[in-house]
Amino acid sequence: MESTNTIKRRERVSDSNLLFAIAAVIFVLMYGFGILSFPRDFLQSQTFFDLFNLNAPLIIVTLGLSIVMVGGGIDISVGQVTALVTMCCAVFLQSRSGSVGGAMLLALGIGIAFGLLQGLLIAYLKIQPFIITLAGMFLASGLLTIIHKDPINVTMPSFVRLMDFQIVIPSLGTLNRLGRFIPLEIKPGTVVVLVLVVVLVILMNWSRFGRNLYAVGGNNQSALMLGINVQRTKFYSYVLSGLLSGIAGFVFIMTTGAGNVGNAYGFEIKAIAGSIIGGTMLIGGVGNLIGSPFGALTLLTINELIRADGVNSDFQAIASGMLLCVFIVLQNAVLRLRGTSSFKLALPGWLVPARRDR
């Protein structure tokens, strides 16, 4: 029988925040390394913001996936849903009745439809999320090729105006190679990402849905016994992920201006990797949504570094893979170290936990 009178002097950070801190530190270190090795590229503020400008869709998808993963699920349909949305928007915008507002609604609609359907099957019929979203992925890519096979460039004037729109901040500009000053440009996608991060972080940390989702991801059965509607909570998480895929699709076409079968290719894998690097654990219940963009950016920074180094781009994939591997090992090692008292010496005092039972 264990005594209840063991109380620790100092409180330890929660698993979610610890993993987030690791993700943030790694990103900063990596970017710092970039600045040291390639000051030309990495010191330009434009390089930093281009990470957002060019990769906003991936970051948005990563956010959605992190939400699902916190709830203990997985959604691998996100990439193809995003691609389907870009193609549908492109076709719609090029059609006679096309309008920017309509395209936005279309994007959200498709995303939510996939979310609803998948969420329904996963939460209420209790089918493995991997299989359902795999089916969703095939469905989306099938629909995509049926709708249109060839690339479409959107030429609709009001959309092109939106696409070319950018926020210019002259005070943060950089000199280009010819010595001409170019002001910093921020694309609408970046703004969308920032707004979404704020909204979703609030949702996950302060709303009942968000906290219930952490509980469900932490222990399904316990959450049920604590009086949480587990099915509904799970359902909403998939709807949210679908919705975010829809938004990502629209941001994608705002970035590239074209519908293409190869759009958002491999996003699901990159998003899973980004989520994990950002400190969300596949087992659920652990993760911090601010970490997700950091995770995605870490992945992208590596690629940037490799490109700046002039190495064959094939190495990007290898580096990403290795990074992911290192991360999972690191996460597990950290959590395991905290879980036992036998590694006392390896940890600073405030990290040494009471023995974790069972």
Partner: protein, 497 residues
């Protein structure tokens, strides 16, 4: 005395595939009483509680709360209706903070007010004297603290019915006292409390009435003051069924004085058994008995190293051996048939044949596979020997009845020509006829020179098969009975202390 019923359950039935967990059980809870719910392992207490709280849906029967028929479909509904529960296993979320665990799932708010939640939790923790901080992650609290948090949560809910399923299992005496004074306070406020425990003293200390369940059936409802501890134990353990009792009790055989096969000294395990000594001789059948939670299963698991062994040594045929993993025990000729047949015993996807040859194959090593023909021959031999009712050797094991599944596992161990077989609840949940057959088989194994340790909740069954019984209480051995002392009354006296 108030007689108003806050909860009435009538004719409750609940089955799981292959198991009848509850059959026609009735239960009433009055306003302002503590009602002890007692029964052995597998008697159906936890199932009944989960029906009350909407975790399981009942197959049949009625349930009324305050005279109104009600049907809870989820714990959420039950909780909203004023049923607070502390479950046997701690059901909190380890990844959330202490404060969140106190308040999550309660109320219909849209956003969390962290500050207020923290304040209220600090208050609650203070009033219960729980040494934890609101912002601490739950997994960093000890098990006892977690249990106190679960109790505090349930107590704080303004409930009409409070259900406590083994709330005291990891609390120390002071904490139990504190819990009891809180229970008395709630009682005086008119809350009906259902209290499940395996500590007899605690039941008598706090309960007004006691309901006893056995094998999923209602045995009776008694006033705590008019039911002696001895009677309670005998009601929980039950009398033998008529047709089984015709079997003759085993006479001590000459072999019982034979060479010791296995001798353990000071053995203890991570599952919390106090260090114990144990000896079994060739061809002997002995048994561990005691109430649920007394440590009878944990003891044999320690011998087989199914739980992490933390101390003690084992001699096999007089030679010192090291058993730190089940495979070591298997190689020494020890077999173990676990309590949880579904979880630990059968490999559900495999056929009868594959399940039978499994242990032998493991011992041989996977690089020396048994030929199909050999496997077939072995399977047929043992199906015949144990009279397993299976259409063919390639039938999937899940299509057999519980009793026949059990025989398949017996066959698996016999095939390895073992010296010592441990059977933990081999007859639970199987029909009477097969029970008798399994008991006969156990006797037959002993004749053939195998030593057997037999554990069963049904005391009659053990009395018939074992020639020596080791009595356990609170995870320690409290007595050993042989020969003439081997009677139900003696066992109960030892247990009731």
């Amino acid at each position: 005395m108030q007689t108003e019923n806050v909860l009435e359950m009538q004719g409750i039935c609940k089955s799981f595939p292959g198991v009848r967990a509850l059959h026609n059980v009735s239960f009433t809870l009055r306003k302002g009483e503590v009602h002890g719910l007692m029964g052995e392992n597998g008697a159906g207490k936890s199932t009944l509680i989960k029906v009350m709280t909407g975790v399981y849906e009942k197959d049949a029967g009625h349930m009324m709360v305050e005279g109104k028929p009600i049907h809870f479909r989820s714990p959420e509904e039950a909780q909203d209706f004023g049923v607070g529960t502390v479950y046997q296993e701690i059901t909190l979320c380890p990844n959330l903070t202490v404060a969140e665990n106190m308040f999550i799932g309660r109320g219909r708010y849209a956003f969390v007010n962290w500050k207020r939640m923290k304040e209220k939790t600090t208050q609650l923790l203070g009033s219960f004297g729980i040494p934890a901080r609101p912002t601490q992650q739950l997994s960093s609290c000890s098990l006892a603290v977690q249990q106190m948090i679960a109790i505090a949560r349930a107590m704080d809910m303004d409930c009409k019915i409070l259900i406590l399923d083994e709330p005291t299992s990891s609390l120390d005496e002071d904490e139990v006292r504190k819990l009891f004074s809180l229970m008395r306070e709630l009682k005086s406020r008119g809350v009906g409390i259902v209290f499940v425990t395996h500590f007899l003293d605690q039941v008598y200390e706090i309960s007004d009435r006691i309901t006893v369940l056995r094998n999923g059936e209602l045995i009776g409802e008694y006033d705590a003051s008019s039911l002696s501890q001895f009677e309670l134990v005998s009601k929980m353990m039950g009398k033998a069924l008529e047709d089984v009792s015709q079997m003759k009790r085993r006479e001590p055989s000459a072999r019982d004085g034979g060479e010791p096969v296995l001798e353990a000294t000071g053995l203890s395990s991570a599952a919390g058994v106090r260090p114990f000594d144990f000896t079994i001789r060739k061809g002997e059948i002995n048994g561990f008995t005691g109430l649920l939670g007394s440590g009878r299963s944990e003891s044999v698991r320690a011998i087989f190293a199914a739980d992490k062994v933390t101390g003690g040594e084992i001699k096999m045929n007089g030679k010192k051996v090291k058993i730190s993993e089940p495979i070591h025990a298997m190689k020494l000729g020890i077999g173990y048939l676990p309590e949880d047949r579904k979880g630990d015993g059968i490999i559900a996807d495999l056929s009868v044949r594959d399940n039978i040859v499994l242990a032998l194959q493991v011992l041989k090593g996977f690089f020396k596979p048994l030929s199909r023909k050999q496997a077939e021959a072995f399977a047929e031999e043992y199906i015949e020997y144990l009279k397993i009712k299976a259409p063919s050797t390639s039938t999937p094991i899940t299509s057999l009845s519980g009793g026949n599944q059990q025989k398949v596992i017996l066959a698996r161990w016999l095939l390895t020509h073992l010296q010592y077989l441990i059977l933990d609840e081999p007859t639970r949940g199987i029909d009477v006829g097969t029970k008798v057959e399994i008991q006969r088989l156990v006797l037959k194994f002993a004749e053939d020179g195998v030593s057997v340790t037999f554990i069963s909740s049904e005391i009659e069954e053990m009395l018939r098969t074992c020639s020596r019984l080791i009595v356990m209480k609170d995870r320690a051995i409290v007595g050993e009975l042989t020969g003439e002392n081997l009677t139900e009354t003696d066992i109960m006296h030892v247990i009731a202390g």
